[in-house]
């Protein structure tokens, strides 16, 4: 499993798609492939208030990636050092086996090159000590990149502040 985690603070996400555009810009992709994507669900009225959900879908960088097992040429690989799953372009023959194998639709088709594109957490940036493109410029800063245990802290902190009572200190 990748040692990294890409956390989406859904409370702050406004579904603006800047992450998708910055990702494509950074990878210089043509129309079509979206290594990450925001899928809007809703709006729906919940208790008389309209609510929308913006589901952020990058690659999950699985521990035992279906795509890596399926790839017949060894183009789809998992980096031993940190678990990032990526495509080595010169080995990809465009057979689309990974596209069939991934349960979440992460591998994307590049019609210009006839090869697969996918989220690699911008490993070139990560290796320089930077964050993935989508995280670096996220409009509201709702995307965060780091170690799993650090990421969940945002929600714990927020929950703590919402339930804190200063009058009943035993709670």
């Amino acid at each position: 499993m990748s040692q990294y985690y890409l956390f989406q603070d859904s409370k702050k996400c406004i579904g603006c798609h800047a992450c998708e555009i910055q990702c494509k810009t950074n990878k210089d992709l043509p129309e079509g492939p979206k290594p990450c994507q925001i899928i809007q669900v809703g709006p729906k009225f919940i208790n008389n208030l309209p609510k929308m959900s913006f589901i952020f879908m990058p690659c999950f960088h699985c521990e035992n990636p279906w795509c890596v097992s399926a790839c017949p040429t060894g183009a789809m690989q998992q980096r031993a050092s940190d678990g990032i799953v990526f495509v080595q372009k010169d080995l990809c023959v465009g057979c689309k086996t990974c596209v069939s194998a991934c349960p979440w639709g992460a591998p994307q088709w590049n019609p210009d090159t006839g090869k697969v594109e996918k989220c690699d957490y911008c490993k070139d940036r990560v290796d320089q000590g930077l964050e993935p493109a989508c995280v670096t410029t996220c409009t509201t800063g709702c995307l965060k990149f780091g170690k799993v245990e650090e990421m969940t802290q945002i929600r714990r902190q927020r929950h703590a502040e919402s339930v804190a009572s200063f009058e009943n200190s035993s709670f």
Partner: protein, 693 residues
């Protein structure tokens, strides 16, 4: 060589500070300027598509001169000298034959606006106009009537607010990065958000209270709120006593406008109106009734905007932390602003503006911006005199002024149409000459004077050389002026020289901008003492009873008139924006186009079922002015009296291939009606019918 350049985005008009990384002469990476608080490296979707615009080969690549009929798309490439000689000699002829006032220039207000204004003043023409009236002219007038300041001189202190009320102000989808983040931070700290709109959108989905108001009745809602606030004495008595002029007149006026009456107009239960008034008054003065951004919906717009400003005044939130404030300029810190070319002395202009703004015929709209939607009338009727030439600088009258068919008729009367733009806009397509401007990544621009709680200056700095045969707008205008004989008003050859000229006497130099992309005049936010607020009205107070209005013969408190309800099978056409596109200008940018290629017509599910319209089906939309086809989006999330579409689609320029003929233009359907007091168009006062195809 690799370098980082601090600059200003221009994918929309907000101009967020950015950092551009350049590698081997190419833009490698763009992000928000990390040194600017509230930006912190962030960039919106349009800003993220900056490279997509820069490297798009469907944008304008050289000067073009028309060879076929107008709008036929037959062009020949021209050198700059040839194109500028042509434009210069034609303008010179028109000036000599008809006077300088026969030349008009319209633009979307920008950093080089002082250059365009100078261009016309030097010709002896009063006819510079901006998009401002189309966006918020009546709000500008409303602010002057209340405070003596324009809306541009006011700001909103989101960071410290405890409750904010938005009337269709779709902050989380129109996306000004700093505004989004300061509001998001306030919400995180516990601020409440009330959102009012006939249509659900992203901002509504983040609200603590959402009201699907009957379209066109926001003023009635506000009268109901004011009624409760006055009756239950929920207002800030000290502040109102000190600063409000005309409270008694308001008290007399508001008596009949009970929350029950407001419910009958708006559809919002009276009890909920009372609850909001009570709830928000507990947090005063750190509350905001947002006065709006695009405020050009109805013919009584100025009174709607005044009612919002009155609510703020009653809460004492004008010049308050967490409320609204007046922007401070360099003078507040003992500094000097950048110079502008308009500070020079020009020939005296004796004729009125084409729109008559500032004359007894149309006294209140701001002559500094003019009233763009009057242009077709002025041209067609030669009222007050013939207009012969129009220069369009990033402002597209065909898609921005209501009733495109009528605007085209007016354009057909002109002897010369010139467009300065980066894209094949529809007006570029309809012009005689197109002068291509370099994109924001390829040009240095004039200084941005950024007034606010902390006055600052920003600079747009060229990151890369132009990819095509393009020039900066301020240089284009200077070179035309050279050919007309008015070049002396433009003391520069290059943008670098112009910026240096602007900075003379400010105490700052170009190098000061290199470190962080901006310079600050002071360190701390400045709020004025609430005992000593320098309102610029004749009374020195906030004028509920307005001398500006009454001296011009308009009432301060006209009786409420209920907006017409749509007749059977009709809908009120409501329009708005999306985070993925800017007005009419980005629909052809590859990455933005990929995410949103066309607009759709939102229509209420029940109404759609009655008409036999299913989701995704093509429908024909017809108004008194025009008709067109668009796909329907059938939803419960819009008021049954309204249909909605995003502005800016339905382009006619064929060489902008991705956006050509995709979706439907709202301007084709909208009637050119407007607020005759405040000055802005009434874009939501058109009824349409919708039929399945």
């Amino acid at each position: 060589m690799d370098k980082d350049v601090f600059s200003l985005c221009f994918m929309c008009s907000v101009r967020c500070p950015i950092k551009v990384s350049v590698k081997d002469g190419h833009v490698d990476w763009i992000q928000g300027n990390p040194h600017v608080a509230g930006i912190d490296g962030r960039l919106c979707p349009r800003g993220s598509a900056g490279k997509s615009l820069l490297y798009d080969d469907q944008r304008l690549q050289s000067p073009l001169i028309r060879v076929g009929d107008r709008g036929s798309g037959n062009w020949r490439k021209a050198s700059w000298d040839e194109a500028l000689d042509y434009v210069g000699s034609r303008l010179k002829e028109i000036k000599e034959d008809h006077g300088g006032h026969a030349i008009a220039l319209g633009e979307r207000t920008q950093l080089a606006t002082h250059v365009s204004k100078t261009f016309l003043k030097a010709l002896g023409s009063p006819n510079h106009f901006t998009h401002d009236a189309l966006c918020k002219g009546s709000m500008n007038t409303a602010c002057r009537s209340m405070f003596g300041y324009t809306d541009g001189q006011m700001g909103i202190n989101y960071a410290n607010t405890k409750h904010i009320v938005l009337y269709g102000r779709n902050i989380f989808e129109s996306i000004n990065v700093k505004e989004v983040n300061t509001l998001m931070d306030a919400l995180e700290k516990g601020a409440k958000l009330t959102y009012i709109d006939p249509r659900v959108n992203v901002t509504a989905s983040k609200a603590h209270r959402y009201w699907m108001i009957r379209p066109g009745t926001d003023l009635a809602l506000n009268y109901g709120l004011i009624h409760v606030i006055l009756k239950e004495r929920l207002y800030d008595a000290w502040y109102v006593d000190k600063w409000v002029h005309g409270l008694t007149a308001l008290q007399d006026f508001i008596k009949e406008y009970t929350p029950e009456w407001a419910e009958s107009q708006t559809g919002i239960p009276a009890g909920e109106i009372r609850t909001l008034a009570r709830e928000i008054s507990r947090e005063k003065p750190a509350v905001i009734f947002h006065y709006g951004y695009r405020c050009a919906s109805h013919q009584n717009e100025i009174y709607m905007r005044r009612s919002i400003l009155m609510l703020n005044a009653l809460m004492g939130s004008v010049e308050a932390k967490g409320g609204i404030f007046f922007k401070k300029g360099p003078g507040a810190e003992g500094g000097k602003p950048a110079r502008k070319l308009v500070e020079q002395t020009f020939p005296k202009i004796e004729v009125p503006r084409f729109d008559k703004a500032g004359t007894p015929d149309f006294p209140l709209p701001d002559p500094a911006h003019g009233v763009a939607q009057i242009l077709p009338h002025a041209i067609l009727n030669e009222d007050p005199y013939p207009i012969k030439a129009l220069i369009n600088f990033r402002l597209d009258p065909l898609m921005s002024i209501a009733d495109t068919n009528n605007t085209k008729k007016a354009l057909d009367k002109l002897d010369l149409i010139v467009t300065i733009d980066i894209n094949y806009s529809d007006i570029a397509w309809y012009s005689d000459v197109i002068l291509p401007e370099s994109t924001y990544l390829e040009r240095t621009d004039c200084i941005q004077q950024m007034n606010g709680l902390k006055p600052m200056m920003f600079l747009r700095e060229k990151a890369v050389e132009p990819r095509y045969d393009t020039l900066e707008g301020a240089v284009i205008l200077k070179r035309i002026a050279d050919r007309i004989g008015t070049g002396d008003y433009f003391p520069y050859e290059t943008m670098d020289e112009l910026v240096d000229w602007q900075l003379e006497g400010t105490g700052f130099t170009r190098e000061d901008f290199a470190k962080k992309g901006f310079v600050s005049y002071g360190k701390s936010p400045i709020f004025w003492d609430r005992n000593d607020i320098p309102f610029k009205t004749p009374s020195g107070k906030i004028e509920f009873k307005s001398s500006l209005l009454e001296d011009a013969g308009f009432p301060s408190f006209p009786p409420y008139e209920s907006p017409a309800a749509p007749l059977d099978k009709q809908f009120r056409l409501v329009v708005g924006r999306t985070g993925l596109h800017t007005h009419v200008s980005t629909q052809n940018v590859p990455y933005l186009n990929e995410l949103m290629k066309e607009n759709r017509l939102w229509i209420n599910s029940t109404k759609a079922a009655d008409l036999g319209i299913s989701d995704g089906a093509v429908v024909e939309v017809t108004s008194a002015c025009g008709k067109g086809r668009i796909k329907a989006f059938v939803t419960d999330l819009i008021h049954p009296e309204a249909v909605f579409m995003v502005h800016g689609f339905g382009h006619e320029a064929k060489l902008a291939k991705r956006s050509y003929n995709r979706g439907l233009s709202d301007a084709l359907l909208q009637k050119n009606v407007y607020d005759k007091v405040g000055g802005s168009p009434a874009y939501h006062d058109t009824f349409v019918t919708v039929t399945p195809v």
